[in-house]
């Protein structure tokens, strides 16, 4: 039994989903496709971090648009690369972050924490709705 199926059955056992929802999720897992729902979408791994900016330019001109898509895999690889930072330099970075009011310890970012962090990004959506610019940051 796959891990995903087991999770679905656990959710069914816990009463978080009903039998019909469980059936649709299992059908989606086995490639049924048509039964895929929003619940199935929440179990899909995140692939990209998106940043979309739509800013007003000078009057009479078209707006400035920025569309950035960064693969999550790149974030993971970048964080793994941070493990190569020498301890002394890491302390300096941590100190600088603390001075800026960011209590982050780079030494605490380990692969298992990283996956949890990326999983938490699923619920992250930043929407800035300004009269002159619209900014949207989200994961998909």
């Amino acid at each position: 039994m796959s891990e995903e199926r087991k999770k679905i059955l656990d959710m069914l056992g816990d009463g978080k989903i009903n039998a019909e929802q469980a059936e649709r999720l299992i059908a989606a897992l086995s490639g049924g496709g048509s039964g895929a729902s929003d619940d199935a979408g929440s179990s899909k791994p995140l692939k990209y971090l998106r940043v979309i900016v739509d800013a007003e330019s000078h009057p009479g001109q078209p707006p400035t648009k920025v569309n950035v898509r960064v693969p999550m895999q790149l974030l993971r690889a970048g964080m793994r690369l941070s493990a190569l930072i020498p301890a002394q330099a890491r302390d300096q970075v941590n100190h600088a972050l603390h001075e800026q009011g960011i209590p982050l310890d780079l030494g605490q970012i380990k692969p298992e924490n990283l996956e949890a962090l990326i999983e938490q990004l699923r619920d992250l959506t930043v929407d800035v709705d300004d009269p002159k610019a619209k900014v949207r940051v989200f994961c998909e």
Binding site: V70, P71, L81
Partner: protein, 100 residues
């Protein structure tokens, strides 16, 4: 999967548009060939490095492991570039960078 192609489009107002397709897979092939050609030199370098470390009473395996880890992680970053998409459209310029 490692990036195979990169597309760069740069359009500046009132000027000709630049559109480049970069075949990155050729770079990887060239790099692989270069690595094979240089492998004897790399081996000699590793032996020399190990001797230097032993003279200075350092463990050469630790150093080689650190260097190997750094190379693997940089490779991981390069491989993870697949899927990057950056598009900037403004009245003065239009820039698109895509890694496929």
């Amino acid at each position: 999967m490692i990036p195979m192609l990169a597309e760069i489009r740069i359009g500046v107002a009132r000027r000709r548009r630049l559109h480049l397709w970069l075949p990155l897979f050729l770079v990887w092939i060239l790099l692989a060939a270069l690595l094979v050609l240089l492998s004897p030199l790399i081996l000699i370098g590793l032996v020399a490095l190990s001797v230097c470390c032993l003279i200075r009473r350092h463990n050469p395996i630790v150093l080689i492991r650190i260097v190997g880890s750094a190379i693997v992680r940089f490779g991981g970053v390069l491989a993870a570039l697949t899927g990057v998409h950056i598009q900037i459209q403004s009245p003065g310029a239009d820039v698109v960078v895509r890694v496929l």
